[in-house]
């Protein structure tokens, strides 16, 4: 599965636009991590626990999108966008969406 945030590919032809595919994921860390993060927040610096949390969550959302795309017979997803919104303290929703297409085999 080719995943790209370009709108078209220079050397490949799109045979068919199948439709929008999307994946989302809401995750949170356990309380210990939240406490560590809020302590770290007093002194500044990177909150590694939250960076990790959002990365895991992003991978999960991407996986869900790719699964959906392969389910409807696409072999590439173009024009992929990410969007993040925080739900409450310590939990965030990651949403990823793109256009599922069928590319001609080279």
């Amino acid at each position: 599965m080719l995943v790209s945030n370009l709108e078209f590919l220079p050397d490949q032809k799109v045979l068919k636009h199948i439709g929008l595919v999307q994946g989302s994921s809401v995750r949170s860390k356990h309380v210990g991590r939240d406490i560590m993060a809020s302590l770290k927040n007093l002194f500044g610096g990177e909150l590694a626990g939250y960076t990790e949390l959002l990365q895991e969550s992003r991978v999960e959302a991407l996986d869900r999108m790719i699964e959906q795309a392969s389910g409807i017979g696409a072999n590439a997803i173009l024009n992929v966008r990410f969007s993040t919104s925080s739900i409450t303290a310590g939990a965030a929703e990651i949403y990823v969406y793109g256009t599922a297409v069928q590319l001609a085999d080279n």
Partner: protein
């Protein structure tokens, strides 16, 4: 008693925050010098000079402000004006995210990153700001295909 705790947190936040910020800027500047050879381009139109393989690359970071910065921001917010303490925070987060994206692209063997987009979200509680910046784009990896003339002869 509470005022003592407040002052202690303010001083600790100032010292450690300044230290963290300086260390981070040093690391950012050093890594940016290395990564300058791999440009991040915001154009939507990919180059067509030679064949490329694409790969989505992502870099993200969550950076927290410190107690002192949050307090300062609260003051500035009251009187109005530019909140310098948060400008630095966002600048660091954005440059760090860009660097992580580029590092991923370099690991994949890419020459450049196209169609770079940024996404910023505030996470954590409302009193102490922490911000997440996500940078993503398409890494262009050159394909070393046989040249047309060589292929024609074979």
């Amino acid at each position: 008693m509470e005022i003592i705790l407040f002052l202690v947190l303010l001083v600790l936040g100032y010292c450690f925050g300044l230290l963290a910020e300086r260390r981070h800027y040093r690391s950012i500047i050093a890594r940016e010098k290395v990564m300058n050879s791999l440009p991040a381009i915001a154009s939507r139109y990919p180059p067509e000079d030679k064949p490329y393989d694409q790969q989505l690359v992502v870099g993200s970071v969550v950076i927290g402000s410190d107690y002192f910065k949050s307090f300062l921001a609260g003051l500035v917010n009251f009187f109005g004006g530019s909140v310098v303490s948060y400008e630095g925070l966002l600048d660091r987060a954005r440059r760090e995210a860009t660097l992580r994206m580029k590092e991923q692209a370099q690991k994949a063997g890419a020459e450049m990153v196209f169609n770079v987009k940024y996404e910023t979200t505030s996470v954590g509680n409302s009193k102490l700001a922490s911000v997440e910046v996500l940078a993503y784009g398409t890494a262009m990896k050159p394909v070393f295909a046989p040249t047309p003339s060589a292929a024609g002869e074979g």
